[in-house]
């Protein structure tokens, strides 16, 4: 026992808030599919249960009931699978994933799908700011609106929003694509280095070095394909925006710095 006044510091090198949490083993598994209720579980318990099912039980289809807008759910899933959240997620949902196909039957908070490497995330409702921050690959489909700075530092992948997008959308975007079906706030594509932004609605203002681009058959093919895959109906007419390359100086960068955006 620690004496009065003695400091006892315990920590986990992985930075875990609940270092000793264990998977609650509450899921019902049948025919390769699992369902569990997250109402009374902590964030870490929910994620541990997900990983247990996907990595240990070889379940490839998991439904999470009552996610309750908890933060950081469904993060770090690194395998091919299907995950359905029957409700909304809080901040940083489905971040750092590589491979899963996720359906969120609700809304998501800030920074959904940040640093996603591959996979598909479909959100039935709205998404907060910073959606798809530093996205590396895969598709993020938001059937509602997306907040400010969606696709900030995007390095690949595709963000689709059927609604409006906030200010500074595509800020510092470096690769990838955004398909925005509604209106867009001020500063679209500010300081973007590369990538393509398609907008069907009105653009409040363009950011620094974001300019209209020339439409090609490849643009039409991309948009028609994504709308068909996700059942989004007939695509509206889009304007295309790209980097004006006034700020573009990759050729002068060190090789290791160039790799950061690949």
């Amino acid at each position: 026992m620690a004496a009065v006044g003695e400091r006892r510091v315990s920590y986990d090198a992985r930075g875990l808030a609940e270092p000793h949490a264990e998977a609650p083993r509450v899921a019902e598994v049948e025919d390769g599919r699992a369902v569990f209720d997250a109402r009374d579980l902590t964030t870490r318990q929910i994620n541990l249960e997900l990983r247990r099912l996907l990595y240990e039980e070889d379940v490839a289809d998991v439904t999470v009931q009552n996610p309750g807008s908890k933060h950081s759910l469904g993060v770090g899933i690194l395998t091919r699978c299907r995950i359905t959240f029957e409700g909304s997620l809080g901040y940083f949902g489905c971040g750092l994933v590589d491979g899963p196909e996720v359906h969120v039957k609700g809304r998501v908070g800030w920074s959904a799908c940040e640093n996603m490497m591959s996979g598909v995330v479909v959100v039935d409702g709205n998404a907060g700011s910073l959606t798809g921050a530093a996205l590396r690959g895969g598709d993020v489909v938001v059937k509602g609106r997306v907040g400010a700075r969606s696709g900030i530092d995007q390095k690949g992948g595709t963000i689709i929003s059927l609604g409006d997008a906030g200010s500074m959308t595509g800020f510092m975007m470096q690769r990838g694509r955004q398909i925005l079906c509604g209106d867009v706030g001020p500063g679209l594509g500010d300081s973007m280095y590369d990538g393509t932004i398609y907008v069907a609605g009105k653009v409040k203002s363009l950011g620094i070095d974001c300019v209209p681009g020339e439409w090609t058959d490849a643009d039409t093919e991309l948009i028609e394909r994504k709308f068909r895959i996700y059942g989004l109906g007939e695509p509206p007419a889009f304007q295309k925006f790209v980097c004006g390359k006034k700020l573009y100086n990759y050729d002068n960068l060190e090789p290791s710095e160039r790799k950061l955006v690949l």
């Binding site: 992985r14 990595y55 070889d58 395998t79 491979g99 895969g138 690949g156 394909r225 690949l262």
Partner: protein
């Protein structure tokens, strides 16, 4: 006092990390059976849409983001198939477990995950029993 500049590696490629070249870098026949659609989530190429043929040290190459290195391609690449070939070589590299990032997983990964990521079904799980490395003879500072 005589000093010598340390060797500076400016372009780390996959061969440098692995210490050897892989046969699929030299023989197109070895990548012909790679099914790109089956290897990726969703109904199209998904993340491979962003992968294209690049150049490193004057050679055609594809970038392996899982090891932060270029994978050079030594066989002739037919015109019009540049990106497809690059993607197939990369997927073969990942599925075979040759990527240096994958080789590090067994020892260093902190959380359970499939060793061969999302590219191979039924891959063994690694990272289930991670402990922080201990430096022999090291003692934590007082109060920790």
């Amino acid at each position: 006092m005589a000093t010598r500049e340390p060797e500076k590696i400016r372009a780390i490629d996959a061969e440098y990390l692995a210490g050897r070249r892989f046969s699929y870098q030299e023989d197109q026949a070895e990548i012909e059976d790679v099914d790109l659609l089956a290897a990726t989530p969703g109904e199209d190429l998904n993340w491979l849409e962003d992968v294209e043929l690049l150049e490193e040290d004057g050679m055609p190459a594809v970038f392996d983001r899982y090891s932060n290195s270029f994978l050079k391609i030594y066989f002739p690449i037919p015109a019009g198939q540049e990106d497809e070939i690059a993607r197939k070589v990369l997927v073969k590299h990942l599925q075979s477990g040759s990527s240096y990032g994958i080789q590090l997983k067994e020892k260093h990964t902190k959380f359970p995950q499939p060793e061969l990521g999302p590219w191979v079904d039924g891959s063994p799980t690694v990272g289930t029993d991670w402990h922080p490395p201990v430096l022999e003879g090291w003692e934590p500072p007082e109060g920790h």
